[in-house]
């Protein structure tokens, strides 16, 4: 593989990761509209939902700008999104907010996997922000925000890119 084609592949990886994060932010923005509508009018929780909704809108704007700056075409948001479960009550709305944040955290972990250190740091900061919002909605913490359970190792696994401390 030539240097130019390697650079092209890397640039495609960056754009793909940014597009994934953008899609998650757009879905979260839509989802918070539903969350806010199901929380008691004028309640503190509804205020929090509004603040989080604005945070996701801003994050989507930032990702849109980052994709454009790298020569990509930001994928526009869908008109509507399929919710994982019906949301009729405040409890269901709170659970949806936590789930939206989990998915946003997972999407930003894709950016953390990129080799560019600036993007890694950006992705990690956003994972942290999403985890904080998720914990606030859930009322409890998680050991591995954003990481799917099946990606975690159990004893005896040999991961593909472990740090190997063995003599060459």
């Amino acid at each position: 593989m030539t240097s130019a084609s390697r650079q092209g592949t890397g640039s495609q990886q960056v754009l793909a990761a940014l597009q994934t994060a953008l899609a998650a932010e757009q879905a979260a923005s839509y989802g918070y509209g539903v969350v806010g509508a199901r929380l008691p009018q004028g309640s503190a929780k509804q205020g929090t939902a509004t603040a989080d909704w604005v945070a996701h809108l801003r994050a989507a704007d930032k990702l849109t700008a980052m994709i454009s700056a790298r020569g990509g075409k930001p994928v526009p948001a869908a008109v509507a999104y399929q919710l994982p479960d019906p949301v009729q009550t405040a409890t269901e709305a709170t659970a949806l907010a936590a789930l939206l944040e989990d998915r946003v955290a997972q999407a930003y972990l894709g950016i953390v996997a990129l080799p560019e250190s600036g993007l890694r740091n950006f992705g990690a900061q956003e994972v942290r922000a999403a985890a904080l919002r998720a914990a606030a909605w859930r009322g409890s913490t998680q050991a591995f925000p954003g990481l799917p359970t099946d990606s975690l190792r159990t004893a005896g696994d040999t991961p593909p890119d472990s740090a190997t401390n063995a003599a060459p």
């Binding site: 972990l109 990690a124 985890a131 606030a136 998680q142 954003g146 740090a163």
Partner: protein, 207 residues
């Protein structure tokens, strides 16, 4: 016949005296000893790569954090001298967070492939000036106790909050050259530790 051939096998070859055989054996002894020393005679093994050192440091830091929580839990336990109110929330909160640190430690250790004969606890953390905000070696119980010298549940939780924030910041600062999957694990643990800050703060403030 069988007896004669067997005994013939033990007779030295013609021309080699018993004294010559002994001398040859003595000369071969240093070679034998050198061979037994194996790879050590080839020189000092190279230091582990940077990602391995970073992972070892994170493992040591996680072990130190668990020890810190163990010391804090002693102070928060009902019946201890610093426990003056009938409120189990600080103790339960600290215990829940400690369990998540144990999960972090297990995952970090699972990412390190070690040669036989090396125990993780024998690693010396790398000299890293930026790591001073977080303990990188497992402290002795007395050292841990003195580090949580705060009085009362609120003081203990306040110190844990500070340690968690430092831990989260440090993990993000170390993402640099890690392999992608390990960088994702570090980022996820950093996020978890940031949520611990808020969780402990809520417990400290009785929310």
């Amino acid at each position: 016949m069988a007896d004669r051939s067997a005994s013939a096998g033990r007779i030295p070859a013609p021309g080699l005296s018993r004294r010559a055989l002994l001398a040859a054996s003595a000369a071969a002894l240093p070679l034998l000893v050198t061979a037994c020393r194996g790879i050590q005679v080839l020189g000092t093994p190279p230091p582990p790569p940077a990602d391995v050192r970073t992972l070892q440091s994170a493992i040591a830091a996680e072990e130190a954090m668990i020890a810190r929580y163990a010391a804090a839990l002693k102070q928060l336990a009902p019946g201890s001298t610093s426990y003056r109110t009938i409120d189990v929330a600080p103790y339960a909160s600290a215990r829940a967070v400690q369990a998540e640190h144990m999960a972090h430690l297990a995952q970090l250790k699972s990412r390190l492939i070690e040669p036989p004969g090396i125990r993780p606890s024998t690693y010396a953390p790398p000299a890293n000036p930026s790591a001073t905000s977080r303990p990188t070696s497992t402290p002795s119980p007395s050292a841990t106790s003195s580090s949580t010298g705060a009085t009362g549940p609120r003081g203990v939780l306040g110190e844990l909050e500070l340690a968690e924030q430092n831990a989260s910041d440090r993990l993000i600062a170390e993402l640099g050259e890690l392999p992608p999957s390990l960088a994702q694990l570090f980022a996820s643990i950093a996020a978890s530790e940031a949520t611990h800050v808020e969780y402990l703060r809520a417990a400290r403030q009785g929310r």
